[in-house]
């Protein structure tokens, strides 16, 4: 109020006052100045650092916890990953053989990729080659919605539709490896499809035009030119989908049956690394052998996901070369 009174009285003193205000604002201004060079730099550098620290910390933590089973509890690493008997709460001679879970995780992942790949690549070709306008306007949002559905919903659908279907047509309880693979396959489908569509769009138009120029049909162009050209990016899309399938716990747990025995066929119930961790973790006490063994399974999961990342890096390097 005071300032405005002075301002109306004397224009010169108003200017002076304004300058003073800016000066007074100094500290606040420096904190909120969007153009401040050091502030931006600090923010970006610290987020990058935080990211790296997080990755290293998680790896180290999992490693320390995961190695406890072998160092503190003296489980044999080899029998741990190859043993097929998982009886942690047996009073005499408990045994920790994680091979059924490793096998289960692998089987679910590869079966899911087998189910998802043809449909996903087909969808991607449709979106990127055949119906470009419709593909980007209608299909892309539809696929994004599918990506956004939480995995528990996929699990619920699997539990109330796929499991009863399996029970009626293949006998048994209906909980089996195939049910898990179907649920996860549907789950990773949109991820694979959208990345595959991007890589097909990235194929230069000159290749297509050259193909048409020598008299190739649309199908020949897609099959012989576009897909080979997009090749390794398509594989990257599949591997990314597989790594998501590998880490999925909730949806799989609801339909796979969680039996700790090696399955004899895809119609037998099974278990994966993730499902056994989520099922047993809360019941085990910190530092018990079962708890340590579960951490080891978690560490194993991390190692295998690193393998997936290495594969993806390797493929993308080959593409760039």
């Amino acid at each position: 109020m005071k300032i405005s009174k002075i301002a109306t009285a004397d224009p010169a003193s108003r200017l002076d006052n304004n300058a003073k205000l800016i000066n007074e604002k100094g500290l606040l201004w420096r904190l909120t100045d969007r153009a401040s060079e050091t502030r931006g730099k600090m923010f970006i550098y610290s987020s990058a650092l935080l990211m790296i620290v997080a990755v290293i910390a998680i790896t180290l933590f999992l490693m320390i916890q995961g190695l406890r089973a072998f160092v503190v509890d003296h489980l044999n690493f080899w029998t741990f990953i190859t043993g097929t008997q998982w009886y942690p709460d047996r009073t005499v001679n408990p045994s920790y053989g994680a091979f059924p879970f490793i096998f289960g995780s692998m089987a679910v992942t590869f079966l899911a990729a087998l189910i998802a790949t043809p449909i996903a690549i087909g969808t991607a070709i449709f979106m990127a080659e055949l119906a470009k306008k419709w593909g980007t306007k209608v299909m892309q949002p539809v696929i994004e919605i599918l990506v956004g559905i939480p995995s528990v919903v996929y699990g619920l659908i699997g539990l109330s539709i796929i499991v009863p279907f399996m029970r009626q047509h293949f006998g048994g309880s209906g909980f089996n490896l195939l049910a898990g693979a179907i649920v996860v396959g549907i789950m990773i489908l949109p991820t694979v499809a959208s990345i595959a569509a991007d890589s097909i769009r990235a194929v230069p138009d000159s290749l297509r035009q050259a193909s048409y120029a020598i008299g190739a049909t649309k199908w020949q162009t897609i099959w012989r030119v576009v897909i080979p050209a997009a090749g390794s990016s398509l594989v990257t899309a599949i591997v990314l989908g597989m790594s998501r399938a590998f880490g999925e716990a909730l949806a799989v747990q609801m339909v796979i049956g969680n039996v700790t025995k090696l399955p004899g066929s895809i119609f037998d119930p099974s278990a994966t690394l993730t499902t056994i961790i989520t099922l047993s973790m809360g019941h085990s006490t910190m530092g018990s052998v079962l708890n340590d063994a579960l951490w080891s399974l978690g560490f194993l999961l991390l190692l295998i996901s690193y393998v997936f990342i290495v594969i993806i890096r390797f493929l993308s390097r080959r593409r760039n070369a």
Binding site: F43, Y87, L279, G282, H283, S284, T285, M286, S288
Partner: protein, 308 residues
């Protein structure tokens, strides 16, 4: 525009960081407040915060009791979490939970120093096998039940039922329900592999829908009008609250609340409320448990049963 975005991202980053930090600090925070409340409890009105966590079987009863306790003592805040019996015991020992809920005796878990914890048996839960109606059995001898669960018998007709394949539904390793069933129904025999599910509702759904399926669950999940699963009798003894109370039906367990050996006044007040008639007479039976006061037999940590 870009700078605006950067600012927005920065703000979001800071916000998420604060959330993470406050989330991390939660466990310590509750421990801190539990120590501070012992000072304030010298006055009549109780105030402070209690963190309870562990067994999901006991969680609904604890939550109900906590709600009533907070209505009586508006300055008290009680947080009831799940997490499983193992988590309950570990965190009670570490001091992150003021009260750890467990379906099993602390003595039965390795790495838990049972002497450092104080055991309050707040309820008794009876459980029995649940069978799909198509199996055609209502009663089994203990020997036959063990043959079914250890996988020696593969078809219900071998134990007097219909010609129907047996499908086992188990609980995860370390689960309190599994431990109790293994100990008192199977006499510590290791069950064969079967479908494993954690939640009792899922187990019930699977048993109801799968011909020939058999599993086990707490008595409260069998209701009088519900014909979807058959409540199995053992050696001709029907599993009811009465037969559990007299000790005729062997498959039952205590629901425990564990505190540090010297609980704070506030925690003690809540435990006292838990054992009072207000909870034991009303909430305990309403939630399908038996009151410890009604039990005519008692058990120690090794499972030895004696008359009261």
């Amino acid at each position: 525009m870009k700078k605006k975005n950067l600012l927005a991202i920065g703000l979001a980053f800071v916000l998420s960081l604060t959330l993470i930090l406050s989330g991390c600090g939660n466990g310590n925070g509750s421990a801190g407040s539990s120590s501070s409340k012992s000072d304030s409890s010298s006055s009549e009105a109780l105030s402070g915060k209690i963190t309870i966590g562990g067994s999901t079987a006991l969680q609904p009863l604890a939550a109900q009791a906590a709600k009533e306790f907070m209505e009586k003592n508006p300055n008290v805040q009680i947080e009831v979490q799940g997490g499983g019996s193992g988590t309950g015991l570990s965190e009670a020992q570490a001091g992150n939970f003021d009260i750890g809920m467990s379906d099993v005796f602390a003595e039965s878990k390795t790495n838990i120093d049972a002497k450092a914890l104080k055991d309050y048996q707040v309820a008794v839960v009876g459980m029995t096998a649940a069978v799909n109606p198509k199996a055609g059995v209502k009663n089994l001898s203990k020997k036959d039940l063990q043959a079914v669960f250890t996988g020696k018998v593969k078809n219900w007709k071998e134990v007097g039922g219909k010609n129907q394949k047996i499908t086992l539904v188990n609980r995860p390793d370390g689960s309190g329900t599994r431990a109790t069933f293994d100990q008192f129904a199977l006499d510590n025999k290791t069950p064969a592999e079967g479908i494993t599910q954690d939640s009792t509702n899922t187990v019930k759904k699977i048993i109801a829908e799968t011909p020939g399926a058999v599993g086990y669950m707490a008595l409260s999940y069998f209701t009088a009008n519900d014909k979807s699963v058959v409540k199995l009798s053992l050696d001709g003894v029907e599993a009811t609250e009465k037969t559990v109370a007299t000790g005729e039906f062997p498959v039952w367990a205590y629901e425990h609340m564990y505190t540090k050996s010297k609980p704070s006044k506030l925690v003690k007040a809540f435990i006292d409320f838990m054992m009072s008639d207000a909870v034991q007479g009303k909430d305990v039976p309403a939630q399908g448990y038996l009151s410890v006061k009604d039990m005519k037999v008692q058990r120690d940590a090794t499972g030895k049963q004696t008359d009261k």
